[in-house]
Every structure is written in structure tokens, then in C-alpha cells.
């Protein structure tokens, strides 16, 4: 049961009869002394107060007994299965009144706060017996993952709106919020670069790469170094008998290479850099690289790992790959445990037996934290090409250059220490034969994509 503002107002109006009764009674008593008149007034005022309270409570009780039951309701949800982070989703709730009375209700849909209900989440409904109404809410989720709703609270008021009955009904629902893939704005420019590599660009730029593609006729602008004289000798010119046409070889980048992306979900991934957790940056970078590499015809495997496999996408291609990736990523949150790097080579071997590009997305802050990674790397670099990508902190670089007062100098020293530690770890990683990519959060995905393109252009995959 609950009371409404109307009931408070009704009770407040009681001041009128109380004062009126007091004043009238003391005037009517005609007592010679003011004290006696006041006593007469007081008696009348107390009576009026009691009467008004009884009236209000009586009205409230009648109102409550006339309210429709908030339990005799059927609920049905209509939700989109998934939505990208930052985009609005329509949540529809169909409320059907199963009772015999008119339901005057206020409905609250019990979404988690991070589901981001816009507006007040208090919907007024008037549902005649047996009919149904739709409650539409716009959700703008604020976090990745499964946003849940378990309950709907219905407050059913009586005809006077004084007292209401309230009940919470079970109505479970799930909305999966996918990573935003904000770095997809970088994709078109990288795809253009890829096409240039591929020799399929409309520009007359010779395709780079190491894999033989085809032999075609020379056109002006082709690199004369790629003229294949043997083919030219075999090809006679149909227009000028006895003459020959110049033939050139074209090349294209290797296709069907394997790429394994290992995303670290341990405590290093929980670090928030420039208002983005490392894990989210890693997801962005994974998505951009996967989108690019799947266009280039390479095969992507993805693994989220700390001490166990948190997520795994294997053997998917094209649009299905991205859909499965974002679905797997959606529910993964960092955990405060140390990553077990020693098991990673075995998992990579399970994903592919061929030489592959292994991209490890983690954080390289300090030699102490990176000991496990450094110990494991030689096993990977012996078989595969390895890139260790990590998010750099732009604020550390800024802090290391501020030296105006003592506090700032100590901060600069601490920042410099952190940068030096990171640099030492990166140097160690490079000595072990792996490549490193380090960039601020918003630049890491394109930087990783660029490194991939560079490796592809150099034919090192």
C-alpha cells in the first residue's frame, strides 16, 4: 500500500475546518475570560481534527478497496536482442489487465541503472478490464554486456487517487549491449590502402606483394622491372605478325594467412587510460584488425584469456566473424587476477598449426608485471610472427614534461620512471623477436591496422 500526494493535500486541507471550528466555537461560547473562550475553541478544534482525520482515512480506505489488483496483470516484453553501445534501443512492455476493474496504474520497469532508461521510467496507464496497453521506453545503455531487467512494479490507484496498491511482478528480460566499434571510422581508409596493395585499385599502381598473381599486357605506367621477358617472347602480336607484345607479371599480397588475436582480460586490462579501460581499447583494436584482415582474405581466430578462456571465436568469416566477435566480447569484463601466459602457446597451437600472425593485446607497464609474458614469448616467436600491442598513457608523457614546482617535479619523475619501465619491457619484447605497437587509446586500433598492412606489404605474414 502507498499513499499519494493527493492524500497529503486532503489531509492538509484539514487546517480549514480545524481553525474554523476553533474560531467559531470560541466566538459562540461567549465566555467572559479569554482563557475560557480558548478552551472552548480548543475542544471544538480537537474534535474537528479528529473528524477530519477519520474522514481522510475513511476516504483512503474506500479508495484502496476500489483499486484494481496490481497482481492480476499479464506482462509481455518486446526487446531487440542486441544493440551497440551508445545507440538507443526500444524496450516495449505490454501490460494486460486480467482483473474485472479499470486499472489506473503507474508502472516502473525495473531496468538496471546502466541500461540507461531515458526519461522518468514512470508510465501512467488506464487499462479497462481485459484490455492491454504498451509501455515504450528508450534505453541508451551506458555499459557493455548483458543489461538485465527482472521486475516490473505496478502501483494501482483507486478512483480518487488517494491510496494505491503496489506490487512487483516478475518480468525478466535481457538486452545484450555490444562493443561500440567506434574505430570502424578508420576502416574505409585502411581498405583503400589494402586495395592498393592488392593491385585492384583503379589507379595504375602496380600491386605490391610477393605472391604471383597473373601475367597481363604491359600498359604505360607499369614498372618496367616487372616485365616478364619469357612471357613476352611467347606472346606474338596478332596485329603485327612477327612482332611481340610486352607482358608484365603482377603480384598480389599473400592471402589465406592465419591471424590469432589474443586479448588479455586479466588485471592489466582493468586499467583505465584516458577514460577508456584497456580491455575496451583492445576490443576496438581486435575488431578493426579483424574487419581489415577478413577483407584481405586472411583467417582470424580470436581468444580472450586470463587464466581460462573467457571467449573464443574460431573459423568464422566475413560478416559472421564480426557478429560473433562482438557477441563474444559483449559479456567479457576484466578480472582482478594475474594472467597465466604459460598456457597461451598451447591455445594458439590448438587454433592453428600453421605459421600465423599472433597479436597479443595487453599492457606492458613494468618488468615485474611482464615477467610471465616475456618468459612465454620465445615459444611463440619461434613459430609465429608476434605483435605485442599495448595502450600507452598520454597523460604520463604530459606529466613528465611539467616541472614548475616541487609537486610537479616528483610527478614528472614518477611518470618518467613509468615510461622508462614501459620502454624497458618493450625493448625486451623486441629482443625476443616480437614486434611492439604502443599508442594512446584512440590511436591504438589504427596503429595496429597500419602495422598489419605494413607487414602484409612487406610480405612477412
Amino acid at each position: 500500500m502507498t499513499i499519494s500526494g493527493r492524500f497529503v493535500l486532503l489531509l492538509a486541507l484539514g487546517v480549514v475546518p480545524v481553525v474554523a471550528a476553533g474560531v467559531l466555537a470560541s466566538a459562540a461560547s461567549g465566555a467572559p475570560f479569554p482563557a475560557d473562550a480558548a478552551a472552548a475553541g480548543a475542544q471544538a478544534a480537537w474534535l474537528a481534527l479528529l473528524a477530519w482525520a477519520a474522514l481522510s482515512i475513511g476516504l483512503g480506505a474506500i479508495d484502496l478497496s476500489l483499486a484494481a489488483s496490481p497482481r492480476r496483470i499479464a506482462l509481455q516484453r518486446e526487446l531487440p536482442a542486441r544493440v551497440r553501445l551508445g545507440e538507443p534501443a526500444d524496450s516495449q512492455l505490454i501490460v494486460q489487465n486480467l482483473g474485472p476493474r479499470l486499472l489506473r496504474a503507474v508502472v516502473r520497469d525495473g531496468w538496471q541503472p546502466s541500461a540507461g532508461v531515458t526519461g522518468a521510467n514512470r508510465t501512467r496507464l488506464r487499462i479497462p478490464a481485459g484490455e492491454r496497453r504498451r509501455v515504450a521506453l528508450v534505453l541508451v545503455p551506458r555499459r557493455r554486456g548483458d543489461r538485465r531487467v527482472e521486475q516490473v512494479t505496478v502501483r494501482s490507484a483507486g478512483p480518487l487517487g488517494l491510496w494505491s496498491r503496489q506490487a512487483t511482478l516478475a518480468a525478466p528480460g535481457v538486452l545484450r549491449v555490444l562493443p561500440p566499434f567506434a574505430s570502424r571510422v578508420h576502416l574505409p581508409s585502411r581498405l583503400t590502402r589494402l586495395r592498393e596493395l592488392d593491385g585492384r585499385t583503379p589507379l595504375l599502381i602496380r600491386g605490391q606483394g610477393t605472391e604471383f598473381d597473373s601475367i597481363r599486357e604491359y600498359v604505360r605506367g607499369d614498372d618496367v622491372r616487372s616485365i616478364d621477358w619469357r612471357a613476352t617472347a611467347r606472346r606474338t602480336d596478332p596485329d603485327a605478325p612477327g612482332g611481340t607484345r610486352l607482358m608484365v607479371r603482377t603480384w598480389r599480397p599473400e592471402r589465406d594467412r592465419r591471424i590469432v588475436i589474443v586479448t588479455d582480460t586479466s588485471r592489466t586490462a582493468a586499467a583505465r587510460i584516458a577514460d577508456e579501460p584497456r580491455l575496451d581499447t583492445a576490443f576496438e583494436a581486435s575488431l578493426l584488425l579483424s574487419a581489415l584482415a577478413s577483407h584481405a582474405g586472411d583467417r582470424i581466430d580470436w581468444l580472450a584469456w586470463d587464466r581460462r578462456v573467457r571467449g573464443r571465436v574460431h573459423g568464422a568469416n566475413g560478416a559472421e566473424l564480426l557478429a560473433r566477435l562482438v557477441d563474444a566480447m559483449a559479456t567479457i569484463d576484466p578480472e582482478l587476477i594475474e594472467a597465466d601466459w604459460s598456457a597461451v602457446p598451447a591455445h594458439v597451437r590448438r587454433l592453428t598449426s600453421r605459421r600465423a600472425l599472433v597479436v597479443i593485446l595487453t599492457g606492458v607497464d613494468s618488468p615485474a608485471n611482464a615477467a610471465g609474458l616475456l618468459a612465454m614469448l620465445p615459444q611463440l616467436t619461434a613459430r609465429h610472427l608476434v605483435i605485442v600491442a599495448s595502450v600507452a598513457d598520454p597523460e604520463a608523457v604530459a606529466a613528465s614534461t611539467r616541472t614548475n614546482d616541487l609537486d610537479e617535479v616528483y610527478h614528472a619523475a614518477a611518470a618518467e620512471r613509468g615510461l622508462l619501465d614501459g620502454a624497458r619491457v618493450e625493448a625486451a619484447i623486441r629482443r625476443l623477436g616480437a614486434e611492439t605497437v604502443s599508442a594512446p587509446p584512440h590511436e591504438l586500433p589504427p596503429a595496429l591496422a597500419d602495422r598489419y598492412l605494413a607487414l602484409k606489404a612487406a610480405g612477412r605474414l
Binding site: 478544534a45 486480467l98 531487467v149 586499467a271 607497464d365 617535479v409 622508462l420
Partner: protein, 422 residues
């Protein structure tokens, strides 16, 4: 099979399922809370039974009431007096007290609340042959006798009556908690005497003549109250003062003794509806609190992600440096960083040692090589000021080397104007 083929209309006819309610119904709630309800009921019944058996705690009645068994009452004294054959009458009206006084009874006035008008007290003293005034107020005292004034509280128990009042002499001592009176020379000349002096500060009991007989003033109720009457000579004083005549009128003035002819108080002038309106306002506040405070359904739980701001490590390390004032160590970090970057800018081999880098930097900028080496390698900062100077110096040197060797790059970097042709 049949479900799949069932047309939608049939499903509708079966009716949608009623949603499961998570809120217990009134009956369900009562059933779930029945243990607590039973415990509460037992506790209430037990308390009620205890009160019925032992009587209400504290006891009712006014302070020094003749039938008040509480700590502040005077039932003990009254009962002892009755046992000794004194006819104790409880009097609550002034007229009755005056009648008793004229009939020759000793009159006790215990008016700690100050209900009795001072003039009426004086009237009573005219009528009574023996009057005992307990704990008089300032106005009562001055109406009763000139020259006896209130003089604060006693410092402790009082030894020795030091006067010719028989009751006081028999008592000998009084317990702690007495109040004091001061009897001045004028009053002494009229025949007033003070008993139980507390040093120079005053006396606990004053006794002297009135127009009708004699008046004894006991400044504190301690000697008569139930919880202190058995201490020291309290009981002796009380019984001695009150037990001298066969009849005793025990007068505790109440609200009806307030003189109606005096000016009306603020409370009397207030209109009668004010108190009910205040109560209504209080009820309104409570009801409004319930209105606003009633939660719209249970709270929704949200599992939060682990999130560590990466700057925390840096902050912590900076504080650690600062607290332990490791100036040289802190400066070394800046130096190592700067040397590393200078190696790249000056295009020196990685194996170059710090002195070589310092020399190269000095040559590039035209600075004093010795000072540059001190800045980059040699000098240990003696105090905080020097540390800040050295840190700023290293930063400046690095910027200057960059400016000298790559003027264009530095220009675009500092002015941040993209697209400027070099």
C-alpha cells in the same frame, strides 16, 4: 505439434499467463513474519504483566507529594509521622490549608513548582502558628520575610546545627545536596536564626518569628524526599520540624492555586485551534515523508566492473618520492629519460655514455660543457629549490637541443599550426 498449429485466436482464448508477483500478499507477509509477530506479542504481554504485578515505574504525583512513593515524593516521612500518631492531612487547596492553620495545625508548604502566589504564602504565615516552608522560590521567600535570601548550593554534607532550634540540634548533620540561605543582620535582630551553616556561605535552615507564630524555612527538599530522607540527620530534622503538633496539614500547591486574577499567560491567550493545527502539521510532515519515501519497487542490483585508473600508480609513486624526499633518485629518473631521448635526437650510438651525451648536447647548443655535464650527470640537488631548478634546466636543455637540431619540427610542435610549409 498442436501448439504450433494452434491459431493465435485460440491462444488468446486460453488467456495470457498472469505475471508472477514478487511482492508477498498481506496474508503471505504475515505468514512469513509470524515468528517475529509472536516474539513481539510475547514481549508486549510480558511487559504488561510486569507492570500489573509491580505497579508503574517511577510512581505518580507531584514532588514531595504526601502519597508519592517515587524518589522525589515524601510518602516515607508522612507514613512515619502517621505511625507516630500525628494526624497528617493532605491539603491541595489554599483555603483548606488556611483553615487547618487557624485550627492550630502545623502547615508544610512544599511548592517547588512555584504555583502558589507569594502574597498568599505570606497570608498563610499570618494564619499559621507553625509553618514549614520547603524549597521556596525567590519571590515566595521575599514575600515571607525580609532579610533571608537564597544563597546557592552547599558544597557537601553539613556537620553541626549550630543553633538553638531543638529539631536541628537533634538532627546534628544534614546530607549532601542542601541549598543555602543567607540571614542578614536585620533579620537576626528580628529573631531569625540560621541552622546548619556551610562555612561562610549560608545556612541550610532558617527559623524565625512570623506575625502568626513561627516559620521554619528549609531551603532544599532533600531532608523530606523519599530517596534521601534516610541519609545523615535528614529524617531527624524532618520529623522534628513536622512532629511538634498533633495535626499536620501537608500542603502541596497545584495548578488550581494559580491566581486566576493575575494577567493571563501566553498559553491562555493562544487561540484554541493552534495546538490541533500544530499536531496536524506534524502528522502532515510524517504522511508527506511516507508519500515521498515509499519506494517504487525494490532496488535493482547492478554488478559493477573492475576499473583501475592507471594514473593511480603514478600518483602513488610520486607521493612516495615526495614523502621520503629522494631528490637525487627522482632527478635521476628525469635525467635517464632525457639522456635516452637526447641520444636519439643527437643521433649518438646507443652505447654512448652520459658524459658523451652531455658533451654532444653542449656542443650542439653552444652551452658550457662543464655546466651541461653537471646538469645531466654530476650535481646532486641539495634542497627542493635546487631540485626544481635542475628539473626545469634538464627540460629546457632538451627543448633547446631539439630546437637547434630540428628547428622546423620544433616550430610546428610548439605553435601547433598544421600545414605550415617548412
Amino acid at each position: 505439434m498442436s501448439r504450433r498449429e494452434a491459431p493465435p485466436a485460440e491462444q488468446d482464448a486460453a488467456g495470457p499467463a498472469q505475471a508472477t508477483s514478487l511482492t508477498p500478499t498481506l496474508r503471505g507477509g504475515l505468514r512469513r513474519a509470524r515468528t517475529w509477530i509472536a516474539i513481539a506479542a510475547v514481549a508486549i504481554l510480558g511487559a504488561a504483566a510486569l507492570i500489573l504485578l509491580q505497579g508503574a515505574p517511577g510512581g505518580g504525583g507531584p514532588a514531595l507529594g504526601a502519597d508519592n512513593p517515587g524518589p522525589a515524593g515524601a510518602k516515607a516521612v508522612v507514613e512515619v509521622l502517621r505511625a507516630q500518631g500525628v494526624d497528617v492531612r493532605e491539603v491541595s487547596a489554599f483555603d483548606d490549608a488556611e483553615d487547618a492553620a487557624r485550627a492550630g495545625a502545623t502547615v508544610v508548604v512544599a511548592d517547588s513548582a512555584g504555583f502558589l502566589d507569594p502574597d498568599r504564602l505570606a497570608e498563610l504565615s499570618h494564619a499559621a502558628e507553625r509553618l514549614v516552608v520547603v524549597e521556596p522560590g525567590f519571590a515566595s521567600l521575599s514575600a515571607l520575610v525580609d532579610g533571608v535570601r537564597l544563597a546557592g548550593a552547599a558544597s557537601g554534607a553539613i556537620e553541626g546545627a549550630d543553633c538553638r532550634l531543638p529539631a536541628a540540634e537533634r538532627a546534628g548533620t544534614l546530607s549532601d545536596g542542601q541549598r543555602l540561605l543567607r540571614v542578614d543582620d536585620e533579620a537576626q535582630a528580628e529573631g531569625w536564626q540560621g541552622c546548619f551553616p556551610d562555612g561562610e556561605f549560608g545556612v541550610a535552615v532558617a527559623e524565625g518569628p512570623s506575625e502568626g507564630g513561627r516559620v521554619a524555612i528549609v531551603a532544599a527538599a532533600t531532608a523530606f524526599a523519599n530517596d534521601t530522607v534516610d541519609e545523615a540527620g535528614n529524617a531527624a530534622l524532618a520529623l522534628g520540624l513536622l512532629g511538634q503538633t498533633a495535626e499536620l496539614a501537608w500542603y502541596v500547591p497545584g495548578i488550581e492555586d494559580v491566581d486566576a486574577s493575575t494577567a493571563p499567560t501566553l498559553g491562555e491567550l493562544t487561540p484554541g485551534w493552534v495546538t490541533p493545527t500544530i499536531l496536524l502539521a506534524i502528522v502532515l510532515v510524517v504522511v508527506a515523508a511516507v508519500w515521498r519515501g515509499r519506494r517504487f519497487g525494490p532496488l535493482v542490483a547492478e554488478d559493477l566492473v573492475v576499473d583501475v585508473p592507471v594514473a593511480e600508480t603514478r600518483e602513488g609513486r610520486a607521493r612516495l618520492y615526495e614523502r621520503s624526499a629522494v631528490r637525487t633518485h627522482a632527478l635521476d629518473q628525469l635525467r635517464i629519460g632525457a639522456l635516452g631521448r637526447l641520444t636519439g635526437v643527437l643521433k649518438l650510438p646507443r652505447s654512448a655514455d652520459a658524459r658523451e651525451i652531455a658533451l654532444a648536447a653542449a656542443l650542439a647548443t653552444g652551452r658550457d660543457p662543464y655546466a651541461t655535464e653537471r646538469l645531466l650527470v654530476g650535481e646532486e640537488p641539495a634542497d627542493d629549490r635546487r631540485l626544481v631548478e635542475l628539473a626545469a634546466g634538464i627540460h629546457e636543455l632538451e627543448a633547446e637541443v631539439r630546437r637547434t637540431l630540428r628547428p622546423d619540427a620544433d616550430l610546428t610542435q610548439t605553435t601547433e599550426r598544421p600545414g605550415r610549409p617548412s
